[in-house]
């Protein structure tokens, strides 16, 4: 029994060394996802059909299919097509040989679809009066978007965005299947090399858990600061 726990702990340094990659994946896909998600939400709410219809379809498909399927399609699909094109000789090529790039693309697109859905709802639920007050003041549509609609929408759905980030963090484990040696990938490599089944997995679970705890505790003060304008949060 003691041996078992010693084994678990012995893998922690190696796994902690792989944690930055998991964090980078989460951060990069989180940021891309938020930016594209915002654009998707705005596209869906616009009354320009060539924007709203594709955005709607994209979100529908991304939210309706498993991330793992998207990941494989992008990795194997793009990975098959791109070498035959001009991309093969471009400066981007070194990156495109790497599973990491495909992982970021798939995670970002998936995250964008979820963030977009949440933001769309939040943008729609902004009280009309506050937008009319902005218009009556002579603000431009862009100013209203930047100064009123987006700030209110983000604050409104911050708790959901936070939990989406935590789901994203845990979803990054899937990219171990396309050769990325992040936390999960490293744990599986250790499994193969050490022939231990449970110890690396438990150690890996512990690290995920710790990261989730840290992330939650970072977001909590951010959340309460950004929503202190609400009643009862004074």
């Amino acid at each position: 029994m003691m041996d078992f726990f010693n084994n678990v702990f012995s893998w922690l340094p190696e796994l902690l060394a792989a944690t930055p990659l998991t964090l980078i994946l989460t951060l990069v896909a989180g940021i891309f996802g938020l930016v594209f998600g915002t654009l998707l939400a705005l596209a869906r709410l616009s009354n320009i059909l060539i924007l709203s219809v594709p955005a709607n379809m994209f979100m529908f498909v991304m939210r309706g299919t498993p991330l793992l399927v998207q990941l494989y399609l992008i990795y194997y699909g793009l990975g098959q097509i791109l070498p035959g094109t001009w991309v093969r000789h471009s400066v981007l090529w070194p990156y495109l040989r790497d599973g990491f790039t495909y992982a970021v693309i798939a995670l970002s697109m998936n995250q964008a679809a979820y963030n977009g859905e949440v933001l769309r709802g939040a943008l729609r639920s902004i009280p009309k009066g506050q937008i009319e007050a902005s218009m009556a003041m002579g603000m431009t549509n862009l100013q209203i978007l930047q100064r009123v609609r987006l700030p209110l929408a983000f604050r409104d759905c911050l708790p959901v965005l936070t939990s989406d980030i935590i789901i994203l963090l845990k979803s990054t484990a899937l990219v171990s299947t396309i050769t990325v040696l992040e936390l999960m990938g490293t744990a599986r490599m250790i499994q193969r090399e050490s022939l231990q089944i449970y110890e690396p997995l438990i150690a890996c679970g512990l690290v995920y858990f710790a990261v989730v705890m840290v992330l939650t505790n970072i977001m909590r003060p951010v959340e309460s600061r950004l929503t202190r304008f609400r009643k009862g949060n004074a």
Partner: protein, 254 residues
Amino acid sequence: MTATALSVRNIRKSFGEDEVLKGISFDAHSGDVISIIGSSGSGKSTLLRCINFLERADSGEVAVAGEIIKTHKAKDGQLSPSDKHQLKQMRARLGMVFQNFNLWAHRTVLENIIEGPVQVLKHPKKKAVADAEILMDKVGISQKRNHYPSQLSGGQQQRVAIARALAMQPTVMLFDEPTSALDPELVNEVVQVIRQLATEKRTMIMVTHEMALAREISTHLIFLHNGRIEEQGPPQLIMENPKSDRLRQFIGKF
């Protein structure tokens, strides 16, 4: 001869089959306080909203300080502003105060007041804050400068909304029932601010149900009924000698 601050010509507006405004015209000269009264649904809010194009009229013309807001007939038959830039400038000169305050919930009192001057008028932030301080004093909200709207009473919120509109140094102030959403005991603090503005000879168009206030501060009273100006004139005269049965009935209710 005082300059015409606001000129409204022949505004018509229908919602579907229902013609809510059937050709409304009036002028506000500099320093005028025009109160608009009328029963619920008579089109008072719609009229105010057509003036700053929150609502698009079907036809008519609005001019601020002699400058006509350029429009054209859009495909849907409504009047559409032709020059976005001009519309924004015109809106900046029409300070609007809403029945439900409509303060930006994520901004403090001070931030609400400096937003327009900084973003629209491009004033330096320092100047905007200095100006806001004077206005917060004026409406008696200085102690609450760092509070959020949700932390204020209705009366306080409406006073901030008035300060926010004043911060744009508008040519004309438009009030849409500024006290209707307030608890009775909070009406007075807002009325006092409005009364103060009237004594400063600010040009104001005010939709109101506060007959005593309308009578006290207005230079001109407009009674709206069924989308038309049924009667208008100096408030004392009109209220003491209503010519139409409608107005007599309406006043009788108070």
